[in-house]
Symmetry: C2
Subunit: 305 residues, 2 copies
């Protein structure tokens, strides 16, 4: 379906009285989803729930779309995230780096009339590859909305932390680190998990972790958590903060030492990354990630129609 | 109990007809144990089973000692390993680095008449600490037996890989990396574990892992395992070999790049470490770890009596 065809059908099918420019943008991830009814870049209505793609049975997506429309209005939809993976509704493939918003808009797929799914992005260099699916809307949106310059390093901390180098408004290259997943693995399954029962908080233990993480010997620093308790070098209650600092420090040192980093993160995780970036001689600029998503989805919609 | 008292009692109590110089040396770890009846540095008899310290109930060690003696002969015993930890029979504490064989012999504890437990070793420098318990017998034994020079870097790969720098026959400093444990964590609990179903074998994927491990961005290289399969950059069957190379490469690059390393390891794991060490410009010298343990235990026994 070409953009012109979508525009034509949209006029015919979605002529409810809520405004012809409205559409629904959905950030549909593995374990949850967030949907916005948007009008000219403004959120008219929104909802979020735990119906990520793993909670939807194969063949169940059309019904989920109908329910989202029943909740937010009967209008065209733009879907981003794992809904476009081989574990989601349809595999929307990947656009290769360098990737612009226009290229992504042109590569969308149409699983049913009135619904578009955004492709992911792949990056291959020197025989190494990486992929993203969903994060690209925030990254490109941050730039469209003027929240970050067109040449910048952006970071999206989380289970899998994305670092993206933007050049002239395109996603030029990116790399993903399993920082958050590693913390959970260690806490839940490693021998040192027994030590990691305290809360993660900013402070000396976190900063010590960042320093050690930047030294580049993470496997040994992780083993050192238990001896530090045994030998009375660190309070056991500080172990989780130290490990968090260690992993975030290793992540930031490998990708952003001394750099200006535009952070797309929730306030808590964003504060930890900002602290590590500053400790390693860089500067973190916090960006509202929801505002970036809204801007990216709106620009994709405008580009497409 | 002072050594002189032990010698005296040994004469009185252990005067069986198997030779007065015999003793039993036990490498008693967390999940298994190995016991040797030794006479002047030669193995007269031996046994191994799964009765590590976690399989022995508190208060059950005297009975276990009686059963080992029923099997190998009624003679004095020297115990090394986790049996001397706070999870074992008694906590034998730690001797600080630099640690010689004589210092360890002098710091043994006596949980019951005719039984000595070797202390562990602790190393603290620049506010960071590490511990070992059991490995010190092999390390010092390798030197006693002339299997390694008195100034050398020794490596004991495994769940927790030990790197020990020996100076003039003493353990001067050491560091432990959770290399083997990390591989198991990833295979059994990480998202990339789904990719790690193939056998670990030497070859291109292992070597690629070593190269990437030495680059010092392990958290990103680990995430890259799934994209490599998705994008057709590496056969899925090679993922486990790549991850093994990545972790061993990171371990060797951090501790032994370009160095001559004396390896105390089983043949399989020793071959992987030797390959990584060579790839990173070093040279691995393989040592028989059982011979090192026997030599260390024998010299400790001679020093004590």
């Amino acid at each position: 379906m070409r953009p012109s065809a979508v525009a034509k059908r949209r006029g015919a099918i979605y002529s409810d009285n809520m405004g012809q420019q409205d559409f629904i943008a959905v950030d549909w991830g593995t374990t949850n989803r967030r949907a916005y009814r948007l009008r000219e870049g403004v959120v008219i209505d929104s909802m979020a729930d735990g119906l990520g793609v793993t909670a939807v049975s194969p063949g169940g997506f059309e019904q989920e779309v109908a329910q989202l429309r029943a909740r937010l209005g009967d209008m065209p939809m733009l879907l981003a995230g794992m809904v476009g993976s081989n574990r989601g509704w349809v595999d929307a493939g990947y656009a290769a780096t360098p990737a612009t918003l226009e290229q992504i808009a042109a590569a969308m797929v149409t699983p049913m009339e009135g619904v578009r799914i955004i492709p992911g992005i792949s990056h291959v260099a020197d025989g190494r590859g990486d992929v993203m699916r969903g994060e690209e809307v925030q990254l490109l949106g941050a730039m469209c909305a003027g929240l970050a310059p067109r040449d910048a390093l952006l970071c999206q901390p989380g289970t899998h932390c994305k670092w993206a180098w933007m050049t002239d408004g395109a996603i030029a290259r990116f790399v993903t680190a399993m920082t958050g997943e590693m913390f959970a693995l260690l806490k839940n399954h490693a021998l040192i998990g027994q030590e990691m029962t305290g809360d993660v908080s900013p402070g000396d233990a976190f900063a010590d972790g960042v320093r050690d993480g930047a030294r580049g010997d993470v496997l040994a620093s992780l083993f050192g958590v238990r001896p530090a308790s045994l030998l009375g070098l660190r309070a056991r209650a500080d172990a989780a903060s130290y490990v968090s600092g260690l992993l975030i420090g290793a992540d930031c040192a490998a990708h952003a030492a001394g750099e200006r980093v535009h952070l797309l993160a929730d306030p808590t995780l964003g504060a930890f990354y900002a602290s590590a970036i500053a400790q390693l001689g860089g500067l973190a600029v916090r960006i509202d990630s929801q505002a970036a998503f809204i801007a990216g989805a709106t620009r994709l919609w405008e580009t497409m129609t």
